[in-house]
């Protein structure tokens, strides 16, 4: 039967990305410092090729590769397209930030490797493949965070590394336990055998695996590294690590939860993780003054929303489409917000944005749209995502989760407005010494136009969400 063959061509997008990473890495060491941009073009082409291949094979039926350990279906397809295009956006941000800097090509290579790892996580249909994806997505991240060579970056890299090591071991332990009680790591076999296995051992194993995935996604309990890394790393890297790894991790969690037997209250557990992530992320973001750290905490809360459809996996028809829709919307919206911070790299305090809306109207509107989009204001795409995940939760009988989503949305309103407010506050120059110096507001051009493009995209995707919905179902 077909499922038991290797069929490596089905993994063409992942292969392209990995080879692209190798070429960038090797090629970069032969290029002069001022010609490193060539590697950026190569990386972008690899990503574009991967996205194109994924789009071409998108409509096909679900297929299995690598002897049944890797699924290529609509979900994998969405993950591939979103992750590849999302990484291209990051490359655009990087072109402003690290053009001509040392270790430019290494940054791109590490991003391509980490994206490959994310995609392997997204398609994994076997616990060992999950492990491989986890490691391939995590190890490049440590390097990416530390590559900025600042004390904060070093601390963040150290913290991420230690957390990653801990949660990686937890993940491996979980895989070992599950293998121990079922003698298999393949999801189709686990589906049959988990129900008969000792319930407590299964619970311990699954909790450990989920914990590992939560580290990758940046959700409670594995979230501690996210705000530090978002603050300490470079802007493009921060945009990358708060967005792309989540795609693989959350989908992997969905695939795992979907096969779990009812011997344990999994929906409740995942629902509580979701609640904890969104609430903690929102509360912690309240008084942050560094915009990137604020966004870092905000992404923790976004993982909470993303876990809602995971919690109701298999119990509502809306769960999977709403998850994919939300992931797509979140990627675009979060990139837009980070693009504003990389276009104004000197503004590392919310008050520094004072008056920006007048000096740079387009950038101001982009920021407002992105932040309102993150809150879930209609008609942006995250609004549609929030409505559908809430409907999915309610349909599955977890109305409390739907209400938690909306209460948290309210909670998140305040800190996003704390950032929008100074942008549109036009004080007199005397009371505004900080901003008065910045008469010209030099904004990085590529980041600024990326911010505007993605902001427009969040609205267009929201208005056209019916089309996306049909694609993902």
């Amino acid at each position: 039967m077909g499922a038991m063959e290797m069929r490596p061509l089905l993994l063409l997008p992942e292969i392209i990305l990995f080879l692209g990473g190798l070429i960038v890495l090797i090629g970069g060491s032969f290029l002069a410092r001022d010609r490193q941009w060539v590697t950026r073009v190569v990386a972008a082409m690899a990503l574009l090729a991967a996205a194109t291949v994924a789009a071409v094979s998108f409509a096909g039926p679900a297929e299995m590769a690598m002897e049944g350990t890797f699924t290529v279906d609509v979900t994998t397809g969405v993950a591939r397209i979103v992750a590849a295009l999302g990484t291209i956006i990051v490359l655009a941000l990087a072109s402003d930030e690290i053009d001509g800097s040392p270790r430019e090509s290494e940054t791109y290579a590490l991003m391509l490797f980490a994206t490959t790892g994310t995609l392997i996580l997204a398609g994994a249909d076997d616990l060992l493949v999950v492990t491989v994806g986890f490691l391939l997505a995590s190890i490049p991240l440590y390097g990416l965070i530390g590559i900025a060579r600042t004390p904060q970056a070093a601390e963040a890299a150290m913290k991420t590394y230690l957390m990653g090591a801990l949660f990686g071991i937890l993940l491996l332990t979980g895989v070992t336990i599950l293998y121990g009680v079922t003698a298999t790591t393949s999801y189709p076999d686990l589906t049959d055998r988990l129900a008969d296995a000792p319930a407590r051992a299964v619970a311990a194993g699954v909790v450990a695996v989920l914990a590992g995935l939560m580290f990758k996604a940046g959700g409670v309990p594995g979230h501690f590294w996210v705000p530090d890394a978002a603050q300490g790393a470079g802007g493009a890297v921060a945009a990358y690590l708060t967005t792309i790894p989540k795609i693989g991790a959350v989908i992997a969690a969905y695939r795992l939860v979907a096969i779990l037997p009812e011997t344990f209250a999994w929906p409740l557990l995942v629902g509580l993780l979701a609640l904890a992530s969104m609430t903690l992320g929102n509360l912690a973001a309240y008084w942050q003054s560094d915009p990137r750290r604020l966004l870092g905490w905000s992404t923790v809360s976004q993982v909470g929303y993303l876990l809602v459809p995971v919690a109701v996996a298999g119990r509502s028809d809306l769960a999977l489409p709403s998850l994919l829709l939300y992931l797509t919307g979140y990627t675009v919206t979060n990139m837009s917000a980070f693009a504003v911070t990389t276009s104004l790299p000197e503004c590392r305090n919310l008050n520094a944005y004072r008056g920006m809306g007048r000096a740079r109207p387009a950038l101001g509107v982009s920021l407002a749209v992105a932040l309102l989009g993150l809150i879930g204001t209609p008609p942006t795409i995250i609004f549609v995502g929030k409505v559908t995940i809430a409907a999915a939760a309610w349909e599955a009988g977890d109305a409390w989760l739907a209400i938690a989503v909306f209460l948290n949305t309210l909670l998140s309103l305040f800190y996003h407005l704390r950032w929008i407010a100074p942008v549109y506050r036009f004080g007199s120059a005397s009371e505004d010494a900080d901003a008065a110096e910045r008469v010209t507001w030099p904004a990085k051009p590529v980041s600024a136009s990326t911010a505007a493009t993605t902001a427009v995209l969040t609205v267009l995707l929201g208005v056209g969400s019916g089309v996306i919905w049909q694609l993902v179902t």
Binding site: P321, P361, P378, F383, A390, I403, F406, L413, W469
Partner: protein, 496 residues
């Protein structure tokens, strides 16, 4: 046609944003022109309008939007929404004319108000809950920027309070909508289908909870006691045109939700909770009037009279839920009165807020005691303000009388106890007369000295709003002919 009415202002707003070289005068006049065209289109719709069959809408349009969750771009009008659309178009045009004298970033102001007009029009024509919610939420966002960007005083803080408070309301509303969606079979967000299905009939707990969520959402927006505390600061610090739109149009989104969503879709729960709505209405009427009486700040006073006026609407729609015996006719009158009140309050309070803006423009103060004898230097201002005040307190000959008379006729017939609320009219009369005395009579003193009378732009904008109020007061038939069939349908739906 309806889509054009909704999206024409939006297109104009985008054009204004994308034309940074446009001069200030051109921007202001193009705003007036677009608002005028939109009003003309609404008039054309009114001209061709024929009362649709029960459970149907006129000028209906439907296009797929999110088929996965059965939400579509579904719009249409009936006797409940058409008057509000017309009122919205009138108020926005009046604001455009009034703002001809504004000098603070007129291009962006015009764009923002045109966007807000699109959103308001869209809300009143929506026949899909998600579409309704999209416009509901966007109205909050746009008004936030109006207050924060063009307000005075402690504008940033008031804007934030407004945003947080009304956003809470909108989320409660959304929870209620999703509850309706889940309960419907097949799941749908379509308003017409939901009114046919009444999915939560018979399950009093779920129906009550969903109604509670929707009521809280609408009550915050309306606002009724105890959810009104965002209103006075928002009004006080908003620019004059912002206040006029906020009071004239945005508050109606809450009361419109009662008659469009809560009553036809949850008739069972509405009947069960009708007394709660009535009590909230009576408390809003009396409390709003009493607090308004105690104000020294003119704009705050008008803001609190809005709470009072919205209370009459809550009272009427609550009384419409008291299904008993042969009161259907009376309850229908109450609903007609409620819708008339929405239109009337929009026109009158819009005019009053624009007039209050003149005070701020000339003398930078809303404090009534800072003025005195203003009638001498500013006779036109005094005349129009007196007209507005008499209209607002419900004097016969103005639209407010037609509205409140019907509300009380219908409500008292359905529930005699509601007669207590008549006290509200008495207090409102007292407070407006006192305000007139304080500001306009006596020797010219304080800030009244050297007060410039109304400019043509102010005169025309305020004057036309008040003229319409008088026209409705004297010839109410054309308006009532549109509303009455819709009220009867609504009473049928609630009585199911």
């Amino acid at each position: 046609m309806l889509s054009l009415i909704v999206f024409l202002p939006l297109a104009a707003a985008l054009a204004l944003v994308l034309a940074p070289r446009l001069g200030d005068t051109a921007a202001r006049w193009s705003w007036v022109a677009v608002a005028g065209v939109d009003l003309a289109l609404v008039v054309a719709v009114w001209w061709q309008y024929e009362t649709p069959a029960e459970e149907q809408l006129a000028f209906e349009q439907r296009a797929e939007w999110m088929p996965g969750v059965n939400s579509s771009y579904h719009i249409g009008v009936d006797g409940l929404s058409l008057p509000l659309i017309a009122m919205t178009a009138v108020i926005f045009l009046a604001c455009a004319v009034y703002a001809l004298r504004d000098t603070n970033r007129p291009r962006l102001q015009a764009a923002l108000f045109l966007f807000l007009q699109s959103v308001s029009m869209g809300l009143f024509v929506s026949a899909d809950l998600i579409l309704f919610f999209v416009f509901f939420d966007l109205s909050i966002v746009a008004m936030y920027f109006v207050i924060a960007g063009w307000g005075h005083g402690d504008a940033a803080r008031s804007a934030l309070k407004f945003f947080l408070y009304t956003f809470l309301g909108s989320l409660a509303l959304l929870v209620g909508f999703i509850g309706l969606y889940i309960a419907a079979d097949p799941h749908t967000f379509d308003m017409v289908e939901l009114s046919e299905q009444t999915p939560l009939d018979g399950s009093s707990l779920a129906g009550g909870l969903v109604l509670a969520a929707i009521l809280i959402g609408l009550a915050v927006k309306t606002p009724t006691v105890p959810f009104h505390t965002w209103l006075p600061p928002a009004h006080t610090d908003a620019p004059a045109v912002g206040s006029a739109v906020l009071a004239g149009v945005l508050l109606k989104m809450g009361t419109y939700g009662f008659v469009r969503i809560a009553m036809p879709m949850l008739p069972d729960a509405w009947r069960a909770w009708a007394w709660v709505v009535i009590v909230v209405g009576i408390v809003s009427v009396i409390y709003g009037a009493l607090v308004a009486l105690a104000q020294t700040d003119l704009k705050r006073m008008i803001a609190y009279t809005s709470v009072n006026h919205m209370g009459y609407i809550a009272l009427a729609v609550g009384a419409a839920g008291l299904v008993a015996g042969d009161t259907a006719g009376a309850r229908s009158i109450a609903v007609t009165g409620a819708v008339t009140q929405m239109v009337s309050h929009g026109l009158i309070t819009g005019a009053l807020f624009l007039l209050a803006g003149v005070l701020n423009d000339r003398a930078d103060s809303y404090d009534m005691d800072a003025y005195g004898g203003l009638a001498a230097p500013a006779p036109r201002f005094a005349a129009l303000f007196a007209l507005g005040a008499f209209a607002s307190l419900g004097l016969p000959g103005f639209s407010g009388f037609i509205a409140e008379f019907q509300i009380f006729t219908g409500s008292i017939a359905a529930a005699p106890a509601t007669a207590i609320a008549v006290v509200g009219i008495l207090i409102t009369a007292a407070l407006f007369l006192r305000a007139l005395q304080r500001i306009f009579t006596g020797h010219t003193r304080g800030k009244s000295t050297g007060f410039g009378d109304l400019h043509p732009a102010e005169l025309w904008s305020v004057g036309s709003l008040l003229l319409l109020s008088v026209l409705i007061g004297v010839f109410p038939r054309p308006l009532l002919d549109v509303i009455e069939p819709a009220s009867e349908v609504l009473i049928d739906l609630v009585g199911r």
